[in-house]
C-alpha cells in the first residue's frame, strides 16, 4: 500500500497539473458586472490574462501584441440566435521597451500610454476594467431582457504578417476567453 501511494499521487496529480497549466496560460473572465449610474451602464470587470511561453517570447523579442476586450449587449431570443444590440471594443497594445525594461500598454481607444515594470503588472492593468461606461440604458427597450457579455482575446490579425499566418494555425497563439455573460439590470 505504501508503495502504491506515490503512484496514486501521480495519477491524481495529472489532471490537477492539466488544470493548473490550463489556468496558468489563457484568458479567463473572473468577474464582470454592470452598475447603472445616471442611466448609463458602467462595467466593472476583472480578467486574468496569462500568456503562453511562445507569446511571451514574441513579446520579449519586441513584437507588439494587441489585446482586445469585446463587450456586447445582446437580446436573447427564444428560437433564434441572440441579437446584438450594442458592441464595444477596448483594444490595448502591449509592447516591451528593451532600453528601459518597461512594458508599455497603450489604450488604442483613448491613446493613453502607461508603463509597467513587470508583465504581470501590465496584464493586470489591462485585465482590470474599472467604471467603463458602455451603454445608455435609453437605447434599450423597456420591458425586454438584455444580457451583457464580455470576452478577452489576443488579436492575431494585428500581428506582423509572417507571424500572423503561423499564429493562426498554432495552438500556442490561440488566446481567447469564453464569453462571460451577465444580466443587464
Amino acid at each position: 500500500m505504501r508503495r502504491l501511494l506515490p503512484l496514486f499521487g501521480w495519477v491524481l496529480a495529472l489532471p490537477v497539473a492539466a488544470v493548473v497549466w490550463a489556468a496558468g496560460s489563457g484568458f479567463v473572465v473572473d468577474q464582470a458586472a454592470t452598475r447603472l449610474v445616471d442611466e448609463v451602464y458602467h462595467l466593472e470587470a476583472h480578467i486574468s490574462l496569462q500568456f503562453t511561453p511562445a507569446v511571451r517570447e514574441a513579446l520579449d523579442s519586441g513584437v507588439p501584441l494587441t489585446l482586445e476586450l469585446d463587450i456586447e449587449a445582446v437580446h436573447p431570443r427564444a428560437w433564434l440566435w441572440s441579437e446584438t444590440v450594442a458592441s464595444l471594443n477596448q483594444r490595448y497594445r502591449l509592447r516591451y521597451h528593451a532600453l528601459s525594461g518597461q512594458y508599455l500598454v497603450t489604450n488604442l481607444n483613448s491613446n493613453v500610454q502607461a508603463s509597467y515594470g513587470t508583465l504581470r503588472a501590465a496584464l493586470r492593468a489591462i485585465g482590470t476594467v474599472d467604471d467603463l461606461p458602455i451603454l445608455d440604458r435609453r437605447l434599450l427597450k423597456v420591458g425586454e431582457h438584455y444580457d451583457g457579455r464580455l470576452r478577452a482575446r489576443l488579436d492575431l490579425g494585428a500581428l506582423p504578417s509572417p507571424l500572423r499566418v503561423w499564429a493562426q494555425v498554432s495552438s500556442d497563439w490561440r488566446l481567447s476567453s469564453d464569453w462571460y455573460t451577465w444580466s443587464l439590470q
Binding site: 517570447e57 514574441a58 523579442s61 519586441g62 513584437v63 509592447r95 521597451h97 528593451a98 532600453l99 528601459s100 525594461g101 518597461q102 508599455l104 497603450t106 491613446n111 500610454q113 502607461a114 508603463s115 509597467y116 515594470g117 513587470t118 503588472a121 506582423p160 504578417s161 509572417p162 507571424l163 500572423r164 499566418v165 503561423w166
Partner: protein, 735 residues
C-alpha cells in the same frame, strides 16, 4: 448541357489561360514581396488564398482528366495508350527541371534570409543598448542622489510651506515635477514646470509598493510620443517616531541629445529583434509560398501535359478509328481536319483516300451488279432455250450446261461442272456416243461444225443435231467450245412421215388409179378376142394379157406395200413377250437352219404385236432372200436383256450367212429402195426401221466378219404413257 460545360472547362483552352495568368500573378507577388517585406505583409494572405484556390481547381481538373484517361486506357479506347505515353513523357520533362529549380531556390532562400541576420550586428546592437543603459544608469544614480538631497531638505517642511519649498527645490535639482505625498496617496504639495498642470503625475503602484517597503524607486519611463523621463521616488527621512511617513516623487527629463540617441538605439534594437524573431516564420512563409508556386506550376504542367497530349493524339486517334472503320468496310468515314500541320495533311490524305476507295468500291459494286444481271439474264435465256447448250474450256472440261442440255442428255449436268467430258462419258455410258462424236471436232479445233448424233437413251432413240463453235481467245489460240444441240428425233420422224405420206398419196393417186383401167382393158381384150382369134394369135394374146394383168397386179402390190410403209397405222401397245413372238414367227419358215438363243430374263415389252410380227417377217425374209441359192442357209437369232445406260431394253439380233450388205450402200441400208436384190420392193429394212422407231427403239445394220449381215434391234422397256409422251403416237398418227 452541364456535362458539356464541365467537359469544355476541363479540356478547353480557357482554364489553361486563366491558370497560367494565376501562376504569373503568384510569381509576380512572390518576387514583389521578397523585394519589399513591408508590402509582402499585406499581400501574403491574398497570395495564399489565390494559390489555394488555383491548386484546388487544378487538382480537380487533373483528377477528372486522370480518371477519364484511366477509364479510356482500361477500355482500350484508340489513342489512350499514346496519350498515356505522351502524358508521362510531358510530366517527366516538366517535373524534373522544376524540381531541380525548386531545390536550389529553397537553398538560396534559406541562405538569403539567414544572411540578413548577422551575429556581429546583433551583438553590436545589444552592446549599444547596454551602453545606453549604462549611460542612463549613471544619470539615474545622480538624479537619485539629488532627489535624496531634496528629500532631506524637505524634512522640516510642513504642509503650509511645502509647496513653496518644492518650487525652490525643483529649480535647484532641475526636475520637471516634484510631488510630495503622504499615506494613502494623499498629495501634500507639488510643483511642475508645466504651468497648466493642475494635478501631478500619479505615482504608479510599483513606486508606492517599493516606497512602503522602505526602498527607493528609480525607473526610466518612455514617454508617449518619444523620449524618456526618469521617475524617482524616495521616502523623507523621519526623525519623530510615529509621525506620518511622507514621500517625494521627482520626474526628471533626459537631455535631448541622449534622449534622441537612446530612442534611436531602442527602435533599431526593437526592429532588429523583432525581425530576428520572425526569421523562422518568415522562412517558413517563403518556403510555403515557393512550394505553393511550385505546386501550382507542377500541376499546371501536368494539366498542360494532359491538354497537349490529348490535342496531339486527337487526330491520331481519329486516324486509328478511321482506319479501323475503313478496314471494316465503312468507306463513308470522314475525319475532321486537324489543322495545317503534317497531321492535318495526313488527315486530309486519309479523307481523300477513303473518298476514292468509296468511289472505287461503288463502281465495283455497280459493275458487279451489272455483271450479275447480265449473267442472270444469260442464264434465264439459256435456261429457257429448248436447245441444249454446253460450254467447254480448251481442255474439254465442262464449264456450263443449261437445263435443256441436262434434259436432252438425261444427265444432271449441274453437278458435273468442272469435270472432263471424257469422265462424263465414263460416268454416264449412254452419252458415250454423244461424247465420242464430239471428240474429233473438239480435237480438230474446228471453228464451226455440225453433226447429227443418234443416241439410244433411257427414253429410246434420240437424234441430236449438234452445232459447235470454237471461241477464239484473246491470244488467238484455241479457246473454249460452245456446243448447241437439239433433240430433233420427233422432228425428223415427222418430216419423214410427212414426206413418205405424200409419196404414198401420189403413188396411189397417180399410179394406182390408172392400173385398174389397164388391167380391166387387158382382161377385156382377152375376153373379147381370145375366142375369135386363131389359136396361135390367141396364145400370144393370152400370154400378153396375162403378163399385163400380172404386172399390173405386181405394181398394185408394190404400191400397196409402199402405202403400207408410208401409212403409219395406229399402233396398239400391249404387253408382249418378244421371245414367244419370235418363236411363233420362225415356226412358219422351213428349209433353213435356225440357231435361236432366247434370253429367259428378257422382260416383257409394250409393243404392237402385229407390227412386230411384220418386222420379224421382214427380217427373216430379208435374210432368207440374201441366202437364196445357198446349200445350207443358216440363220442366227438371239434375244438378250439389255441393262445399260440406266435403262432396260430387249435386244434382238438376226444374223445370216449370206454375202452381207454391199459396201456401196454402207450407211443407207435402212433407206427405202436401197437394194441390190433382183426381186423385192426395197422397203423391207425401211419398214423394219420404221417399226423400230415407232416403238422408240434403234436399229443397227452391219456386216460381220466371218458371217453375213447382222441386224440389231433394240427396243426399250417402256410403258405406253412414256411412249406417248415421247410423241411416237403423234408422229405415227400423222400418216
Amino acid at each position: 448541357m452541364v456535362v458539356a460545360v464541365v467537359k469544355r472547362l476541363t479540356t478547353g483552352m480557357l482554364p489553361a489561360v486563366v491558370l497560367f495568368a494565376l501562376l504569373l500573378v503568384s510569381l509576380y507577388l512572390l518576387s514583389y514581396s521578397t523585394e519589399q517585406a513591408a508590402r509582402f505583409q499585406s499581400l501574403y494572405e491574398w497570395m495564399l488564398l489565390i494559390n489555394a484556390v488555383g491548386l484546388l481547381v487544378l487538382v480537380t481538373l487533373i483528377s477528372i482528366n486522370l480518371f477519364r484517361l484511366v477509364r479510356q486506357y482500361r477500355g482500350g479506347v484508340p489513342g489512350a495508350r499514346l496519350t498515356v505515353r505522351m502524358f508521362v513523357m510531358f510530366v517527366v520533362l516538366s517535373v524534373l527541371p522544376v524540381s531541380i529549380v525548386y531545390y536550389f531556390s529553397l537553398q538560396f532562400l534559406q541562405r538569403g534570409i539567414d544572411s540578413w541576420f548577422d551575429v556581429k550586428i546583433e551583438q553590436a546592437l545589444q552592446n549599444s543598448l547596454e551602453l545606453s543603459q549604462a549611460a542612463l544608469d549613471l544619470r539615474k544614480r545622480e538624479l537619485l542622489k539629488r532627489t535624496e538631497e531634496a528629500a532631506s531638505e524637505l524634512v522640516d517642511s510642513n504642509e503650509d510651506n511645502a509647496a513653496l519649498m518644492l518650487n525652490d527645490l525643483r529649480t535647484k535639482v532641475d526636475a520637471n515635477e516634484l510631488t510630495l505625498f503622504g499615506q494613502n496617496n494623499r498629495i501634500i504639495a507639488f510643483s511642475s514646470t508645466d504651468p497648466t498642470a493642475v494635478v501631478p503625475h500619479r505615482p504608479g503602484d510599483q513606486l508606492l509598493l517599493q516606497l512602503r517597503q522602505g526602498r527607493t524607486y528609480i525607473a526610466l519611463e518612455p514617454l508617449r510620443d518619444s523620449g524618456l523621463q526618469v521617475r524617482v521616488g524616495v521616502e523623507l527621512p523621519n526623525d519623530a517616531a510615529g509621525a506620518e511617513p511622507r514621500y517625494l516623487q521627482a520626474l526628471f527629463p533626459v537631455e535631448p541629445r541622449l534622449n534622441a540617441l537612446a530612442d534611436a538605439v531602442q527602435s533599431s534594437f526593437a526592429q532588429y529583434k523583432t525581425l530576428a524573431y520572425q526569421r523562422t516564420p518568415l522562412k517558413k512563409s517563403f518556403m510555403l509560398s515557393l512550394s505553393l508556386v511550385l505546386m501550382l506550376s507542377l500541376l499546371s504542367a501536368v494539366w498542360a501535359a494532359f491538354f497537349s497530349s490529348r490535342r496531339l493524339v486527337a487526330p491520331i486517334r481519329d486516324l486509328a478509328e478511321g482506319t479501323r472503320a475503313v478496314a471494316e468496310g465503312d468507306y463513308a468515314k470522314r475525319l475532321p481536319v486537324a489543322g495545317r500541320d503534317e497531321l492535318g495533311f495526313l488527315v486530309r490524305s486519309f479523307n481523300d483516300m477513303t473518298r476514292k476507295i468509296a468511289q472505287a468500291s461503288n463502281e465495283a459494286l455497280r459493275s458487279r451488279t451489272q455483271v450479275e444481271e447480265q449473267r442472270a439474264y444469260l442464264e434465264a435465256v439459256l435456261g429457257n432455250l429448248s436447245s441444249g447448250v454446253l460450254t467447254l474450256d480448251s481442255d474439254n472440261v465442262l464449264y456450263t450446261a443449261n437445263a435443256a442440255a441436262s434434259q436432252i442428255l438425261g444427265v444432271d449436268l449441274s453437278g458435273c461442272q468442272g469435270q472432263r467430258l471424257v469422265k462424263l462419258a465414263v460416268d454416264h455410258p449412254h452419252v458415250k456416243r454423244f461424247v465420242d462424236s464430239l471428240a474429233p471436232h473438239l480435237a480438230a479445233g474446228q471453228a464451226d461444225w455440225r453433226e447429227e448424233v443418234i443416241l439410244f437413251a433411257v427414253g429410246g432413240r434420240q437424234v441430236l443435231m449438234c452445232r459447235g463453235t470454237n471461241l477464239v481467245d484473246e491470244k488467238g489460240g484455241r479457246g473454249d467450245h460452245v456446243i448447241v444441240f437439239d433433240d430433233v428425233t420427233a422432228l425428223i420422224q415427222a418430216q419423214r412421215d410427212a414426206a413418205w405420206g405424200e409419196v404414198a398419196r401420189r403413188l396411189a393417186h397417180e399410179i394406182k388409179n390408172p392400173l385398174t383401167p389397164i388391167q380391166l382393158s387387158a382382161e377385156r381384150l382377152r375376153h373379147k378376142f381370145l375366142k375369135t382369134m386363131a389359136p396361135s394369135d390367141a396364145e400370144v394374146l393370152e400370154r400378153s394379157t396375162h403378163t399385163i394383168v400380172q404386172q399390173v397386179e405386181a405394181m398394185k402390190e408394190m404400191v400397196n406395200a409402199f402405202s403400207e410403209y408410208a401409212r403409219a397405222p395406229q399402233i396398239k401397245l400391249l404387253p408382249l413377250d418378244l421371245n414367244a413372238l419370235t418363236k411363233e414367227v420362225l415356226d412358219l419358215y422351213t428349209g433353213v437352219e435356225v440357231h435361236a438363243h432366247y434370253d429367259p430374263s428378257a422382260p416383257m415389252i409394250e409393243a404392237d404385236s402385229g407390227r412386230l410380227r411384220q418386222l420379224l417377217h421382214n427380217l427373216v425374209k430379208n435374210a432368207l432372200e440374201a441366202m437364196h441359192g445357198m446349200e445350207r442357209p443358216r440363220l442366227d437369232i438371239h434375244t438378250r436383256c439389255m441393262e445399260e445406260n440406266g435403262g432396260r431394253g430387249v435386244e434382238l439380233m438376226v444374223r445370216d450367212y449370206g454375202p452381207g450388205f454391199p459396201n456401196e450402200c454402207e450407211g443407207r441400208y435402212f433407206e427405202p429402195y436401197v437394194t441390190t436384190k433382183p426381186k423385192g420392193t426395197g422397203l423391207g429394212l425401211a419398214i423394219v426401221k420404221k417399226i423400230v422407231e415407232e416403238h422408240g427403239g434403234i436399229a443397227v445394220a452391219e456386216n460381220e466378219a466371218g458371217c453375213g449381215a447382222r441386224v440389231l434391234i433394240r427396243l426399250p422397256v417402256i410403258t405406253r404413257e412414256e411412249l406417248q409422251a415421247e410423241g411416237v403416237d403423234a408422229g405415227a398418227s400423222k400418216a
